[in-house]
Every structure is written in structure tokens, then in C-alpha cells.
């Protein structure tokens, strides 16, 4: 069956249950899904559908399975960066942005149940109103989907709340490539969602498998998530942000390790001058350039918090520990940001919500921005910063212009390291070479690209034949017709691994 | 006398928890020296453990297991050190050691046990009243001139076979200490083997005869207190004799005697010994030394023992007195092994193992010496002639620089006798 014909049949199938305005074939709209800011190129979006509920999603998947039509799920609004929503072949886009109900915010058991289209911009203020706080990634765009961000294991700013790499994701409702729906953990049953009394906050199982893990980091290849529960935290009644600066990452890494080991701090992240300037600059390019010049090479941002009971007392004790640890390392924790021109308040504000203005902070310098990010342990962070610097030098890219972000994860037992390379229109080819070579070098040196988007997939799976083989077995179970975002990860014909 | 069928409750209660092979939680020190069952450490099968032996006992009793090839050897590899028993009893109301001993007795009763070397020992004992087949008349040859004996004393020093024939120094040192402390005592020329080698190999009927004989000798000589420097004798008097008849004498170990004398200022440890030692608790002086109290009753709902039973959990073993005495010796530094007191690892010298499985006995002693060395001590001290043989063999085989001292030897040196 030719692709166009298959899509046509698919369209006939879904038209039986989707409303007319939920099926879009307008060329310009479709065109916008064909590429993003990444280097990934691929096939074409042939049709766009907007499911409204689980039954719609099941119907869409069944129709796709019947007609062998690839589906590419998209939940966040544009721009996209990772290439994961760019169809690898002619495909139907399943856009979840109309499934955006906040189904429940439970103040007692501290969780929220969301549809995939719920964005940070939507959820954060709602939670705040009710006295809760969401562990945020660093300044996500406001139209980013909370569910997919958590599914993709994006790091959060408060490592102490994270007990493993999937935390704070709790349970999922998912539609597999077979069209069957499934609920994970304590949302699984007994009975139907209507009769089940559980809150759905136990993520594990049911039974002997951690089903939620198979769908995580999968870029939509293992199932389409129609609902997810995530933890939320108590909104502190008192917060204090401290800045610890250094010319070298090493002492900061040591400080992060000790602070997290003792669980002294809430927010805990380090940014280099380029990133901090991009975030704080009022105007471009002058203010940005000045800030970048004045800010220290690396700044560690740590937040102390007091919750609902005796907040001052808690902060006083934690501050004492903070000072002791900094003292041991010859560092200073200051409430002010040296070189920041008095913009401490702004930092505090920014960290508590998504990025709301245009352009997105990563796009303030140049039209595009290419991120290299991976996981490692804190002990190895300085080494990888060195590796990246070496690669930048080899490619004649000024290292100081690259954004640097260190986000400890899982209580400091791991660390997300992210380099953002701004890229002008005229330097795409050069930056691409740099990006590819730096990624390869980092992987060779033992950086763990746990979310292998775009070109990383081949680099990563090519090194792990047994693991890729196991993943393919799983894929064949949950998506036997290979209709869910085909071509991603190790799931493509001719792909390595 | 107890029988294997008396231990049905133990067999049924075991849940394979594995505590009988590992050091007790409160004593944890690290990865090394965490195991306490010699046969399990060496052979690793579950069957090689207190648990395995009671599982085997149950299957034999129920006719689910035959006396197949290798079974008797298997049952007799166990050193009867009782580490399993004490560990199990730290958490359970079970009789692991007594089940193993009753299993051996059952093998003997069924004509399948013990092993030939144990049978030979029994023959020697039958003929010469000692385990080595040495002439009975020479039993007191260790006695030297100058020792003051008191024929009227109600205290007897009981040397035991191993001391009398193989480690006469221990006997000599012991009586010198008693003299120095001014304790009147007798040496009974008609003492027989205490019965330990027979009891621990399941030859309980033969052991009973020895117990009856020795008890009679004590009675005839008006003995109310028996002093011994042998852990096996000590543990047998306390753990076996009451199974035959209620004992009418008290048993004390030489370390307890010295402790009392020191406390009463009847002895002074003046001689300086610049040495760093670690003390090895002999099984039958430590965890297995509590007096046996016969129990006849019924086990009711939820394990309730009616009437209440006196358990031997190893709480009141002779742990403190040797340590207190050693620490009182000027210049002597005492360091502890990870596995000490009720958690001590066996020297490999008990249960008939050296006679039947000398290589395994040697291996066990070497394992223990390795632990002793790890403390930084230059000597290991114990208070039993069987331990001395086991350790000395291993030291000789390994050409180890570690030294072995019997408790009594160090005390005599410190007393400058």
C-alpha cells in the first residue's frame, strides 16, 4: 500500500470518531512539523490529528496499526529542539495539545494527574495557588508539556526530591502500539479507573515489571501516554537563594556533592557565565555582553527552604550547614550574585516557573542552539568539562560562548551536564561538525547519553549491541507493527545496534 | 536421654533463614569474617550447615532419605562447634546443636555411624579410658614433684585425656596456679575420659558409662567442685552429664578460678609480658558451656513450652574471666577478633573432625589463625588443649610466625612461678 493511500484509509478510519476540526491536512500547518531546531531531517507530516481523550487515542492507534501508518506524538508546543518529533518517514502527527486537562491536584497526597497537553505555563501557577510547587527543569518554555518532560527524564532543579532517574513521574495511562490501553503501578487496578480507590502514586509494577520505565526515554516509540501522575511538593513559606562562585568547576562539584549528601539544599545547580547572562540579560546584545564579562565563570545556585512549620528554624540550621561546608572548601555562599548587577531577585523568580518571554532564552544570542547533554557522576564532571573545552578549541568555537549547565540528579548520585552551542544561520555546517565530533569524543570518554536524540542514537546503540537487541524485543511486544514514531533510537532499519 | 524425635519441633520450625551461617547482626564488622559455620564456609552447600543437618535429620526420620553413600561422612564433617545453635537461638526457640548430636546418636543406633577413627577412639576408651589408647596408669604422669595435693579437699583438678597425655604443661601450669592461690585440691587417679569425644560423635551409650564412672569417682572422693583447664571437659560436664543424672558437683574452669583469686588478692600478676594477643573462645567453654537442664513437656499453641524451658542460648558462657585475667597481665595487650565470644569461629578441633578429616580440621584452624593475624596480634591464646593441638598443627603446617599460648602458660609466666 502506498503511503498516501494508507494515510487516506487511516483518515477515513479516524474520521468516524474524531471531530472534523481534529483532523488537519493544511499543508502549511503540516509543514511546521517537518523540521525543528535540531539537525534531524526526515520524512513528511501527512496528516495531523488532535485526540481529545483516551478513546480517541486508542482509535487512532488502531487505525494506524490497521493501515500501517506511522504516528508521531507531539505534546509540547513549538519550537522543538531534539528532532524527536520530526517524522522519520511520512507519518501522521498526533498532537496532544488539546488533551490539556489538569485532572486532579491532590493536596493531601501531594500529586497531580495530568493529560499530556498540560504545560508548565498552565500547571505552575495553578499549583502555586494551591500551595504547591513543581520540581522544574531549568527554565522550560511555557508551552512545554509537563508529562513528556517527565517521561523523557529531564532533570529537575531540586535533586533532593529525586530518588531515581524517573522520579517525580508516578503512574501512567498508556496506549500501546497494539491499541490496548494500560495503567501502570497502583493505577493498574483492581478494577477500572472509576472504581479504583487508590491514588495512583505507587509507580512500580504491577507485578514484576516496571512498566513505566519502558515508556520513559522512549520518544514516543513504546506507547502513547494519555495521562500521568507526577509528584508535587509543598510550596516553601520561606526561601533563600545563595550564590557560590568559582573560576573552576571542581570546588563547586565538591560543594554540590557535600550539600546533597547531607540534603542541605533544595535547588542546586551550576551555570556558567554564558548561560547566566543569557538568562539574566535585560537587553541584547550589550547587556548580555557586559553580564557575560562580569559574571564569574561558574556559579552554583543553591536554595534553602522552610516549609509550613517553623520555616525560620529550618533555614537557620541549613544555612549553618551550608556555611560550614563552604568553609571547608574555601568557598563563600552569598545572597548576592557577584557581577550580576543586583539581579538576585530575578534569578529567584525565574527559577520558580517556566520561561515566558520571546525568544526562548537559549535563542537570545543566535537563531538556533544545539545542546549536548549527558549524564555522569559528579566526580567526573570536571573531566567532561575539560573534554568539551578541548573539542571547542579544536573547532575554533569560543568555549566561553557555550552555555554550561550542571544539574545534579538523584540526590547527587548522578549529574546532568549540558552544553548549549548557539548557532547562527551562517555557521550551521561548522557547528554541526563540532557538535558531532564533541558528542563522539564525550561518548568515547564515558559520558552517558541516556536520551539519545537524533544523531546520538547510532553513536550510542552501536556500542551496545546486547542492550539494543533487548530493546528491540521490547519494542516488538509493545509496538509489533512499528507504527509508533518509527526510526528513532535503535528502532530503525539499517540503524546501528 | 534425649532422642532425635524430641527435636521434631526444631525441624519443622526451620525456615532456611541462614542465620546459622552468619555472624550475628549486632556484631557486624565488615565483609571479612562474617561467616561462622566452618563446614559451610568450606563447602558452601546448604546441606553443610546447621540448617542442612536438621533438614537431613528430618528426612531420615521420615524415611525420605536413605543412608546413601557419603551421608555419614557428611554428618560427621561438622565440628559440632555450635555456632549455628547459638545464632539460631538468638532469634528462635530451636535446638540445632542438640538435633545434630541426636542425629549422630541416631546414626550410631542404626549401626551406620560413627566413622572408623571414632570407633577406634571408642575402643581405646573402652580398654584404656582415654582416647589415645595410652596406658591408664600413666594418666597422672604429668604430676611433678613439689605440687601440693590435699587428699581431703572437696575440690578436684580434672585434667582430661588431651591434657594428661598430649599437653602435660597445661596440667602442670594449672596445679601450680592452684597452689599459688592456696586452693586445696585433689588429683583423682581414677579419672576417665570425660566422654566428650564419644558424646560429640553420637556414641552416647559409651559416653554415658564414662559419665557414670566419673560421677561415681567424684562422689567417692567427696568432690563438690571440679576444676578443669580443658574446654571440652568443661562443656561435657555441664552439657552432657545432666542428661544422665542431676549433677551433684560444680564445674569451674581455671580461668574462673584465677579470676576469683585475683579479685580476692590471692594472686598477683607481676611479671611483665610484652605481647599482643587475641583470645580464641573455645566452643565448649564459651557458647556451649551453659548447664543443660532437662525439659520434658509439651509445645502448645504458638510455640509455648509447657512447663517453661530453660534455654541455653550462649549468653552466660565463660567469656569474661579469661579476658579479665589476660588484661590484668602487665604489658599484655588484648585485641579482639571480629568473631569472638559466642560468635567465635571454631578451631576445627572438635566433633571428631581431626581424627576423621584432618585436612578439613587444618583448614578450619588456618582460617581462624588468619583472623587472629588480621588483628595485628602476635599470638593467639586459648584455654583448651584441643584448641592448642588444632592451632599448633596449623601453625606448623603454615610455618606461621604467629605463636600459640595456653591461658595457663601465660598466667604462670605472669605469676613468675
Amino acid at each position: 500500500m502506498r503511503a498516501a493511500e494508507a494515510v487516506l484509509r487511516f483518515r477515513e478510519g479516524v474520521a468516524r470518531f474524531l471531530k472534523a476540526d481534529s483532523i488537519v491536512d493544511d499543508a502549511r500547518t503540516l509543514e511546521s512539523y517537518n523540521r525543528d531546531i535540531s539537525f534531524v531531517k526526515g520524512g513528511r507530516a501527512r496528516l495531523l490529528v488532535y485526540p481529545q481523550n483516551r478513546e480517541d487515542v486508542r482509535g487512532i492507534v488502531r487505525a494506524a496499526s490497521k493501515n500501517k501508518v506511522p504516528l508521531v506524538p507531539v505534546s509540547s508546543g513549538p519550537p522543538h529542539y531534539r528532532g524527536d518529533t520530526v517524522p522519520s518517514a511520512d507519518a501522521v502527527i498526533v498532537d496532544f495539545s488539546r488533551m490539556k486537562r489538569i485532572i486532579r491536584i491532590d493536596p493531601v497526597s501531594r500529586y497531580a494527574v495530568l493529560e499530556p497537553g498540560v504545560t508548565y505555563g498552565q500547571l505552575v501557577p495553578e499549583l502555586r495557588r494551591q500551595g504547591f510547587k513543581l520540581v522544574m527543569p531549568l527554565l522550560p518554555r511555557a508551552n512545554k508539556s509537563v508529562v513528556t518532560s517527565r517521561l523523557e527524564r529531564e532533570p529537575g532543579l531540586i535533586p533532593k526530591y529525586q530518588y531515581d532517574y524517573l522520579d517525580p513521574l508516578l503512574t501512567l495511562e498508556v496506549v500501546y502500539g497494539t491499541g490496548d490501553d494500560f495503567r501502570t503501578g497502583s493505577a493498574s487496578g483492581p478494577g477500572t479507573p472509576e472504581t479504583l480507590k487508590a491514588d495512583g502514586v505507587n509507580p512500580w509494577g504491577p507485578g514484576v515489571l516496571d512498566f513505566f520505565r519502558f515508556v520513559s526515554g522512549a520518544q514516543g516509540t513504546m506507547g502513547l501516554v494519555t495521562r500521568a501522575a507526577t509528584k508535587v511538593e509543598v510550596l516553601p513559606s520561606l526561601e533563600e537563594l545563595f550564590f557560590i562562585t568559582s573560576g573552576d568547576v571542581r570546588p563547586l562539584v565538591e560543594a554540590m556533592n557535600r550539600l546533597l549528601r547531607k540534603r542541605v539544599v533544595d535547588e542546586c545547580l551550576a551555570l556558567n557565565g554564558a548561560n547566566l547572562a543569557a538568562i539574566l540579560a535585560e537587553s541584547l546584545p550589550q547587556d548580555f555582553a557586559e553580564l557575560k564579562k562580569d559574571l564569574p565563570p561558574w556559579t552554583l545556585l543553591v536554595g534553602l527552604a522552610g516549609y509550613q512549620r517553623r520555616p525560620e528554624e529550618r533555614i537557620a540550621i541549613m544555612e549553618r550547614y551550608l556555611r560550614e561546608i563552604c568553609g571547608e572548601l574555601g568557598l563563600k555562599a552569598r545572597p548576592s550574585l557577584p557581577g550580576g548587577g543586583g539581579r538576585e531577585k530575578k534569578v529567584t523568580e525565574l527559577l520558580s516557573g517556566p520561561w515566558r518571554s520571546e525568544p526562548y532564552w537559549k535563542l537570545r544570542q543566535k537563531d538556533a542552539c544545539h545542546d549536548i547533554f549527558f549524564l555522569t557522576t559528579l566526580s567526573k564532571v570536571p573531566e567532561f568539562v575539560g573534554v568539551m573545552r578541548g573539542a571547542a578549541e579544536r573547532h575554533g568555537y569560543p568555549f566561553e560562548d557555550i552555555g554550561g549547565y550542571l544539574q545534579p540528579m538523584v540526590q547527587g548520585r548522578g549529574c546532568h551536564v549540558e552544553f548549549s552551542i548557539p548557532c547562527g544561520k551562517d555557521e550551521t555546517a561548522r557547528v554541526k561538525d563540532f557538535f558531532i565530533e564533541a558528542s563522539e569524543t564525550l561518548i568515547n570518554e564515558g559520558a552517558f547519553f541516556s536520551r539519545p536524540y537524533g544523531p546520538w542514537a547510532d553513536m550510542v546503540y552501536g556500542r551496545d549491541g546486547e542492550g539494543a537487541a533487548a530493546l528491540k524485543k521490547l519494542k516488538a511486544i509493545f509496538d509489533p507493527d512499528n507504527i509508533l514514531n518509527p526510526g528513532r533510537l535503535c528502532f530503525r532499519e539499517g540503524g546501528r545496534g | 536421654m534425649d532422642k532425635l524425635t524430641d527435636y521434631r519441633y526444631t525441624m519443622k520450625s526451620c525456615n532456611s533463614c541462614g542465620q546459622c551461617r552468619f555472624i550475628l547482626g549486632p556484631m557486624m564488622k565488615g565483609w571479612e569474617y562474617a561467616e561462622i559455620c566452618p563446614i559451610h564456609l568450606r563447602y558452601r552447600w546448604d546441606a553443610c550447615s546447621g540448617q542442612g543437618l536438621i533438614n537431613i535429620a528430618q528426612e531420615l526420620l521420615d524415611g525420605e532419605l536413605d543412608y546413601e553413600d557419603g551421608l555419614i561422612e557428611h554428618i560427621y564433617t561438622c565440628t559440632t562447634c555450635g555456632a549455628c545453635d547459638i545464632n539460631c537461638k538468638s532469634v528462635r526457640d530451636m535446638e540445632v546443636m542438640d538435633t545434630i548430636l541426636a542425629l549422630r546418636a541416631r546414626c550410631v543406633e542404626d549401626g551406620r555411624g560413627p566413622l572408623p577413627p571414632h570407633q577406634e577412639q571408642a575402643r581405646y576408651i573402652e580398654a584404656h579410658h582415654n582416647i589415645f589408647g595410652e596406658p591408664h596408669e600413666e594418666r597422672s604422669d604429668w604430676l611433678q614433684e613439689g605440687i601440693k595435693l590435699s587428699e581431703k579437699a572437696d575440690v578436684a583438678y580434672f585434667a582430661g585425656c588431651a591434657t594428661a597425655y598430649k599437653h602435660p604443661d597445661i596440667a602442670r601450669n594449672t596445679v601450680r596456679i592452684l597452689n599459688a592461690g592456696g586452693l586445696d585440691f585433689q588429683v583423682l587417679h581414677d579419672e576417665y575420659c570425660c566422654g566428650a569425644p564419644l558424646w560429640r560423635t553420637g556414641q552416647v551409650e559409651a559416653a554415658r558409662k564414662l559419665a557414670e564412672h566419673n560421677t561415681e569417682v567424684f562422689r567417692e572422693n567427696g568432690i563438690r567442685t571440679v576444676v578443669t583447664a580443658c574446654a571440652e571437659c568443661y562443656g561435657t560436664f555441664r552439657g552432657f552429664y545432666p542428661r544422665i543424672a542431676p549433677p551433684d558437683f560444680e564445674v569451674v574452669h581455671i580461668s574462673e578460678v584465677v579470676q576469683r583469686m585475683l579479685r580476692a588478692d590471692r594472686l598477683k600478676l607481676k611479671g611483665k609480658l610484652d605481647i599482643k594477643v587475641t583470645y580464641h573462645d573455645p566452643c565448649l567453654l564459651g557458647r556451649l558451656s551453659e548447664p543443660y537442664v532437662p525439659w520434658h513437656g509439651e509445645i502448645k499453641s504458638f510455640g509455648y513450652h509447657e512447663p517453661p524451658k530453660t534455654w541455653r542460648r550462649g549468653t552466660h558462657g565463660v567469656y569474661e574471666s579469661p579476658r579479665e585475667v589476660l588484661k590484668a597481665i602487665p604489658g599484655l595487650e588484648l585485641v579482639e577478633m571480629t568473631r569472638h565470644a559466642e560468635n567465635a569461629f571454631c578451631c576445627g578441633g572438635g566433633g571428631g573432625v581431626p581424627a576423621a578429616f584432618p585436612d578439613f580440621a587444618l583448614w578450619t584452624a588456618a582460617e581462624r589463625l588468619d583472623e587472629a593475624k588480621s588483628t595485628g596480634a602476635n599470638a593467639v591464646v586459648s584455654a583448651c588443649p584441643w584448641c592448642e593441638s588444632a592451632f599448633q598443627n596449623a601453625i606448623d603446617a603454615d610455618k606461621s610466625t604467629l605463636q600459640y599460648h595456653d591461658f595457663t602458660g601465660l598466667v604462670v609466666r605472669a605469676l613468675e612461678l
Binding site: 520505565r213 559528579l378 540526590q411 564515558g446 | 546441606a47 532419605l65 532469634v91
Partner: protein
């Protein structure tokens, strides 16, 4: 003896070649220790055909491959403390991993330890303490295998400030049911042991879920586990002799409190608030009868204590709190917060003799050295429920226990202890675990039926109410029956089993 089904000669010989004659056995008396009737479940497992002890991952792989070639069913085992039994079908090969007992690495900075299967709690705990670290240690006794516990269960008393063990399972090395060696997560990428998830979808999801496979999906030969900071002493200062040990902690930074509340709802709410305030190394509603069993040495002592009625009076609606801090000031702060909460919900201290037991035996919060005492009433002890969800849901489940429990009590089949359940919050109250324990009288002729019947009634009650109070067990018939009620999870579980174990040789389970 006929009951042992033996392996074909050529298979035995092939296996013997892999490990050498010292490390394989099929004599019935060696196998006797592997088929003993379990006093907790009442089940007598069938006899295995042989037992083998590999010494390395390569040997494990070879053994597994031989089993696949010849259709021999196998199961891995370490210490056999598990409730399930290791041999599910006659004629299986038991792969005992006892020789693989090394601690490969303890990384103090990045806070993880890499271990082989036969490393025991009593070994690893002491080693990490020495380094000022700790890990979530299941209340499964000192001799339990850390690896097996991380693969099977892993609930423990200090989950308030940490989580279930499964959260702390990092990279692992896995011999698949068909004999491939797969290294999972960062490990496969030369990146170390720290992360089990990715690249891409997480294979960590295969090795265990809420519960574990019980050996049904290959053999894990090494795992890394996450470590947490340890506020207690680096070396235990134990006093006394077995079984009367005392293990006190420095009281200025370690305190135990037990409060009784007017209702269970108040216990629940106080627990919830302590989670929100992020206080407490351990916070739990503990089992009152189990506590009486744990803190007495013999069955007779237990009966005396239980019959005194003290625990029934003080503990059915109580909350246990263990505060641990770096400094006395921090402890004082947590105590003030705790007292605010306790006062708010009408709590008051229980009889001091009960609290003292804990303060003298702080190992309760670190290893539960005396855990096996729960079996001392003849072994007749079993857990049920064993599920997790929110604190509120767990208390809702608890409130319904009397519906099915009293029938067993009234017939004298189980101990009269209707409040013998525990609820332990985890991750500062983001979820909680429930467990209902019952002591059954195994001197009764029908003792072997009691555990299964209680579990059955408990499950029926959960289903009736729509409670997620347990995860369905991996028992084929039960899975098929209950699966449709749990999102048809059995369909996917079976598919995974069939895909990864096409010859169905890795512990196929009973029946």
C-alpha cells in the same frame, strides 16, 4: 530415593565441566536442604535434580546455555530466606550463587556500591557504615542477600527518609534467560554503574517491578546500589551477649518516640504532616504483636508480655518516630516540629518501657538483627497485602482489615492481633507501604492451609473495595485470574517472559 528426578548424565557432565566436581552435586542428602517444607507458607517444594555453584558471570552464562540446549529448568538462589521457595518444579537445577560474594567497589564520593549476589546485609552494612554511608536495608535479617533483596522486595523501616530498595537499584549485569550477558544502563556505555535507565527506554524495568521475578527472568550477577549519608556511628558499640544485646546510639542526635492517638485517622494525618515537614529518619505505624515478638526472646516470654495487655492498650493506634540529626540543634528543631504535629492531632507518649526497647536496640532502624524472631512462634508467620499507594489509601485499606480477619481470629487459627499491620511512608510521605502480618498456630492440624486462606480473603476484600493493597503475585493461575482486573498486566508479563525466555527454563514458576 525416588523423589529426586535426576539430570541426564550428559547434562550433568557438561555442567560439571564448567564448575569442576567440587561445585556440583546431585546426591539426595545434599539436596535435602533445598526442599524443606516452609513453615511460613506450609508448602513443601519439589526436589531439585541437582545444585551447582558457579564462580563467575561467565560460568553462569555457560550453565544457562547448557540449560537452554537441554531444556533444563533452573533457578538462581543465594540465601533462601525468601518466602517463595526456590524450586518450583521437580527436576530443576538450582544455581547457587554463594561463591560470588565479593564487594566489587564502594564509591564514597559518588555514593554507590557494586556487589555480587552473595554479599549479605551484615557484610555490606558494616562496610558502608565505616565510610559514613548507608543504604535502604530491608527488614529481612542480617544474612539476607542484598542483591536478592533488591531484586525481590526491599521494604524497610526508614523509608520515610529514603525509599524502597528498588529506587536505589542502579546499573546491573544480567545473564538473560537464554544466556546473553547484558549490562544495563550507563554500565553498558563505559560510563560506570550510576544509572540504570537508558539509553532510551529503560531496561531496568525488566528486572523487577513492584515485586521481583523470583528468578523467572535470568540471573543478575552484579548490581550497583545507591548509598545515602549515615548520621549514626561508624562502628556499632554493641554491649552484652546474645540474645541480650544492647545497641544504643548517641542520644543527642538520635531519639525514638512513640505516640498513641485517639483514632487511626489521627495517626494517618500526623504521618502525612511529618512527610510534608520532611522530618524523621523513620516514621511508621508499626505492627504491635510483631513488636512484642521481636522484643522478647522466647515464645513463652512473648506470651507473658502479650497476655499482660500492655501492647494492646498502648499500640493499636500509635506512631513511631525516629529522629536522627547531624547536630543536637537539628534534632531539637525536628523534635519541635514533631511535637507541634503530635499535639495538633492529640497524640501522647506511650508507656516508656516500650520506647526504651527501641532506644536500646537501635539496630531495629538499621538492620533488624533480630528479625527472624518473628518466626519464633514455631515459624507460623506470614505477611499479606504488601502493596503501596498513598498514606491515605493505605489507611483506608487498613480500616477494612477486620472484615475478613476476625473470622480467622475467632476460630483460633491466628493470633488475636487485629491491628497487626504496618504502614510505612516513603520519600517523605509521597507514598506508603502496607503490610498485614498474622501469626498462625502451626500446632494445628490445618496449619498448612491457613496462610493461603488469609491471603485469599485479603485479596478478595481488596478487589471488592477497589483497593490497591497488593501487587498480584507471579503465580500463573493467580495472574490469569486477577490479571484482567489489573489492566491485563498478565498479557504483557507473559509476552515478555515468552520473548526473553523462549524455552521457559528460567524459574517457570509452579504449575
Amino acid at each position: 530415593m525416588e523423589k529426586v528426578m535426576s539430570l541426564p548424565k550428559e547434562v550433568y557432565q557438561a555442567l560439571l565441566k564448567v564448575v569442576g566436581p567440587e561445585n556440583i552435586a546431585d546426591r539426595p542428602h545434599i539436596l535435602a536442604a533445598l526442599r524443606h517444607t516452609n513453615p511460613q507458607s506450609g508448602r513443601q517444594p519439589p526436589s531439585p535434580a541437582a545444585v551447582i555453584m558457579p564462580g563467575s558471570v561467565e560460568e553462569v552464562r555457560e550453565i544457562v546455555r547448557i540449560c537452554n540446549r537441554h531444556g533444563v529448568r533452573y533457578n538462581a538462589v543465594v540465601s533462601m530466606f525468601g518466602m517463595g521457595g526456590v524450586v518450583s518444579q521437580p527436576g530443576m537445577l538450582v544455581i547457587s550463587l554463594r561463591r560470588m560474594n565479593r564487594i566489587i567497589e564502594i564509591n564514597e564520593f559518588d555514593r554507590y556500591a557494586v556487589i555480587e549476589p552473595a554479599v549479605r546485609q551484615v557484610q555490606l552494612k558494616a562496610e558502608v557504615f565505616k565510610r559514613g554511608l548507608t543504604y535502604p536495608t530491608a527488614s529481612a535479617g542480617p544474612s539476607c542477600s542484598v542483591l536478592a533483596n533488591f531484586l525481590t522486595s526491599g521494604d524497610h523501616h526508614t523509608q520515610q527518609s529514603s525509599s524502597r530498595c528498588s529506587r536505589y537499584l542502579l546499573g546491573y549485569e544480567w545473564v538473560t534467560p537464554t544466556g546473553e550477558i547484558v549490562r544495563v544502563g550507563s554500565l553498558a556505555h563505559g560510563a560506570g554503574w550510576f544509572c540504570p535507565d537508558g539509553p532510551g527506554p529503560s531496561l531496568r524495568g525488566l528486572v523487577r517491578g513492584y515485586g521481583g521475578w523470583g528468578g523467572g527472568l535470568g540471573i543478575v550477577t552484579r548490581i550497583a546500589i545507591g548509598l545515602d549519608d549515615w548520621k549514626g556511628p561508624r562502628v556499632l558499640t554493641t554491649q552484652g551477649h546474645s540474645p541480650d544485646y544492647k545497641i544504643p546510639f548517641p542520644p543527642d542526635c538520635h531519639r525514638v518516640f512513640i505516640f498513641k492517638f485517639p483514632t487511626l485517622e489521627k495517626v494517618r494525618d500526623a504521618m502525612t504532616e511529618m512527610g510534608k515537614a520532611e522530618i524523621g529518619q523513620a516514621v511508621l505505624k508499626f505492627f504491635y504483636a510483631t513488636e512484642a515478638v521481636l522484643f522478647t526472646v522466647s515464645a513463652n516470654d512473648f506470651r507473658d508480655l502479650w497476655n499482660s495487655g500492655l501492647y494492646q492498650r498502648e499500640l493499636p493506634r500509635a506512631l513511631w518516630v525516629y529522629l536522627a540529626a547531624w547536630t543536637p540543634e537539628e534534632l531539637a528543631y525536628e523534635e519541635r516540629v514533631m511535637r507541634d504535629i503530635v499535639e495538633e492531632f492529640g497524640g501522647e507518649p506511650v508507656d516508656a518501657s516500650i520506647t526504651r526497647k527501641y532506644e536500646e536496640n537501635m539496630d531495629f532502624f538499621i538492620l533488624v538483627s533480630f528479625l527472624q524472631r518473628v518466626l519464633k512462634l514455631g515459624g507460623g508467620w506470614s505477611p499479606t497485602k504488601l502493596g503501596a499507594d498513598s498514606i491515605h489509601h493505605m489507611f483506608e485499606v487498613a480500616a477494612a482489615i477486620p472484615e475478613f480477619f476476625y473470622d480467622f481470629i475467632e476460630k483460633g487459627r491466628i493470633l488475636d492481633a487485629p491491628h497487626n499491620f504496618q504502614v510505612i511512608p516513603m520519600e517523605y510521605g509521597h507514598a506508603a507501604h502496607i503490610e498485614l502480618l498474622f501469626f498462625f498456630d502451626n500446632q494445628r492440624p490445618d496449619w498448612q492451609q491457613i496462610p493461603a486462606e488469609v491471603m485469599q480473603k485479603s485479596m478478595e476484600s481488596d478487589i471488592r473495595h477497589g483497593f490497591h493493597a497488593a501487587t498480584p503475585p507471579r503465580v500463573k493461575a493467580v495472574m490469569e485470574r486477577l490479571g484482567p482486573l489489573y489492566s491485563n498486566f498478565q498479557v504483557w508479563t507473559n509476552k515478555i517472559k515468552e520473548t526473553f525466555d523462549p524455552n521457559n527454563v528460567s524459574n517457570p514458576g509452579p504449575g
